[in-house]
Symmetry: C2
Subunit: 523 residues, 2 copies
Amino acid sequence: MEQYGATTNLSRQCGDVQSQLKVRKLKSEQSYAELIRLSRERSVMHSTLAILQWDAEICMPRGGVKHRGDQMALLAGLVHDRSTDPRIGELLSDVEGSSLVADAESEEAVNLRELRRDFDRETRLPRRLVEETARVSALSSQAWSEARDRDDFKSFAPFLDQTFVLAREKADALGYKDVRYDALLDDYEPDMTTAQLSALFEQLRSQLVPLVDALRDRPKGEHTRVPEREFPVERQRAFAEAAAAKLGFDLECGRFDLGPHPFCSMIGPGDVRIAARYQPGNLTNGFLGVMHETGHALYEQGLDPAHYGTPMGEAVSLGIHESQSRMWENLVGRTKGFWMHFYPQLQQAFERELGDVPLETFRAAMNQVAPGLIRVEADEVTYNLHIVIRFELERALLDGDLRAADVPAAWGERYRKYLGITPDNDRNGCLQDIHWSESLIGYFPTYTLGNVYAAQLFEAADRAIGPLEDAFAAGEFSTLRTWLGENIHRHGKRYRAAALVERVTGNPPNPSALIASLAHRYG
Amino acid sequence: MEQYGATTNLSRQCGDVQSQLKVRKLKSEQSYAELIRLSRERSVMHSTLAILQWDAEICMPRGGVKHRGDQMALLAGLVHDRSTDPRIGELLSDVEGSSLVADAESEEAVNLRELRRDFDRETRLPRRLVEETARVSALSSQAWSEARDRDDFKSFAPFLDQTFVLAREKADALGYKDVRYDALLDDYEPDMTTAQLSALFEQLRSQLVPLVDALRDRPKGEHTRVPEREFPVERQRAFAEAAAAKLGFDLECGRFDLGPHPFCSMIGPGDVRIAARYQPGNLTNGFLGVMHETGHALYEQGLDPAHYGTPMGEAVSLGIHESQSRMWENLVGRTKGFWMHFYPQLQQAFERELGDVPLETFRAAMNQVAPGLIRVEADEVTYNLHIVIRFELERALLDGDLRAADVPAAWGERYRKYLGITPDNDRNGCLQDIHWSESLIGYFPTYTLGNVYAAQLFEAADRAIGPLEDAFAAGEFSTLRTWLGENIHRHGKRYRAAALVERVTGNPPNPSALIASLAHRYG
């Protein structure tokens, strides 16, 4: 009896434990499902901000600006409220440690990891700081735009100081291990540290400055005159859009527009939009701008729509996003193979303008290296030096080692040192970029990270499925696109940037591939 | 002492009453302010639906349709939640009966009256019914579109029955005094009753049928050949947009687009958009479409932006809105005076097509009366007969006197009786309009109400500031626009439709002016 009883008790206990486990499993599954539902809903709400922003840039009449501000402020507030809803904290705790997320690379574990990260960051920021930053950004962007028009840095300086005061506060609220800049960088490139970046930039700087100096002394050929011709904008547009479609941009799920500057806007799955800007006197800029945005768009169109609204359906980081745009712009769109396919079509479109220009002359014109004052017009080699300068200055501003008033001098000094040129005014100097006025501190380095990752990823792709230039020459671009889709796009946020790069290329992020690629093509 | 004491008590009591009144006044003022804040916020949120809808019609790539549905459903849900927030009920009660709303025509009283009306209507609808209606509408629109393409009414019939089942349920939830149809009509034209409408339509029908018959037997002139010419669409567009701007459409606060059908979209103050559709073979339709939408747009641009987001800043009703569009389309855009100003410009734009066509021939071509099967292509005289038919049929459907399956027969019978023609198929018959598939029951009559109001208002304007045709002939349109602004637009919802018409014209709404106008111009 006793034994029987004991057995019964034991089996009853086992049953209890099992049913407790079952209940626990059920609960964590339910919590996970609710978490995903909230995440999707938040994304859908956030995506209405994307359409409001897109419309403001492309369609909205001037008179609509105040109301658009009201719409965006209201929605941004709702999104923030949802992002910091304490219910999310409860749900995250329910799921954490459960068997559902035991495998760190599983969909569930990845989503949980990233949702936890977002929730913790969002809730660490006091609402007051979020609102104050939004308010100062609005005023500061306005002030920047006016200061830039009038080349009047002085009127912008107080806003710049104020922006960095708030950025410091933000970094302190978020927390960091080593330096303040880490906290801000983490917004755009999770896990990347200032120390890693400094080393990377130092390596780049030390190798690029001599390369630029060497190229500066090259004799100028007839190719330097090609860009001065006039290329009718409508034909530029038709050619660039056809090329983007050929690379794989899906027009059933996207569209092209003319905008004040080139950008790519992800509205939602099935709706990715490219805005471009063409100038009659600069064929290269307009076309490469479209190639760049096509790279972004292919990434967005390559994300798994089944995961939309969750980290598994989102891009890894700004740096990885930029790697896609830089790759199609520079490592595809500037190559000989690419133009062997496209140049005959371009000549056909611009018979009068390019009929007498041989392919190599055209490519030489497109790939001229010449230090200039303006980042967005920079060639591939000097581009990263523009970023080094901004990285150094924003770190100094954040640490309080540099005051806004001293920025023009510091800017000029670095342009002389790294690029051998001096800005003629602040408009072509420290007033040229909008980023700081919009409180985007820590954003610039992702442009160079994009170049670094792009070179590494392209090298790996070329090893795996190359020689890619032969494919390009044959008008075959789906090989590369498919490879990127399988190795990068479809993983969403499964791997952080460094892990992804190492997984795909065998090496952690480092500038060797970029330097080798530039030296090979320009050296 | 006693007296002194009594005085003191009295004055203390007075003081108490006064301070109680003060507290009560303060409370009602605070509640009113919160009510207005909530109303504005709801409007801003609702206006993001407007941009999503506009974008879906004008810009969105096909692939974006599912995500757009998710965005709109989420926002519509949020708007509904805000509309039925019990807090609004509390605030309304706080303010009702307070001195703040003692004057029934004051801004506060008007806002309160309309917010109460909206709140009561919204909260009477069960959420389940709202969602079910949205769901059925989505499926039904899809089914309608396919049925229309294939001329297959049978496949649409079950959806139509289902739509009217839900419409009946909605009417019962909303409540009504006399007949069910009243409850639905009230959505689009507050206070208008089925009995009033029936009388109005009977008067119209009895006078229009003989007029149409008489016009049918007129000999055809050379003008009937004008519309058959081909008018290049780009020049139609340029001419129509310039004309709309001349009438007063403010392009700083609006824009033009090409759309699948003409419509006007109010995004917010400072942002009103007109979509138009041009066909090479039909100059009149495209142009009058733009005049029509310009009428809507001038109303929206004439609302007081300071009242945005509250009833005082909103249009009175669909009928009054339509009166503005019909007035600019028909009572301005078809007149001799209007074309005395614009015809030389039109001839210049279409020299080859219209150079040899005298003004009166052109006008005769534009104003041909001929019974046709399609409502949106109908002339001014027969138009209202199309509406009578729909009004009669939807009442019968709502009351259960007519089943969907019998609609084609009932439709054909009425077209024979009222217009003397028989639809050759359902596509040109009962499948031509989208309204029923979108659960818009009670909407059609507002088109005719618009015609009725427009004639009355225009007659009053002509009396007050006319002869208007002389002004039009001199290219002067701001006189009429200003008069409409002062008498209609700037009042927002201060007066309900009937009161507004009576206030401005001296008569309650009635079709005499419309019949007189049509008889005068066409008889």
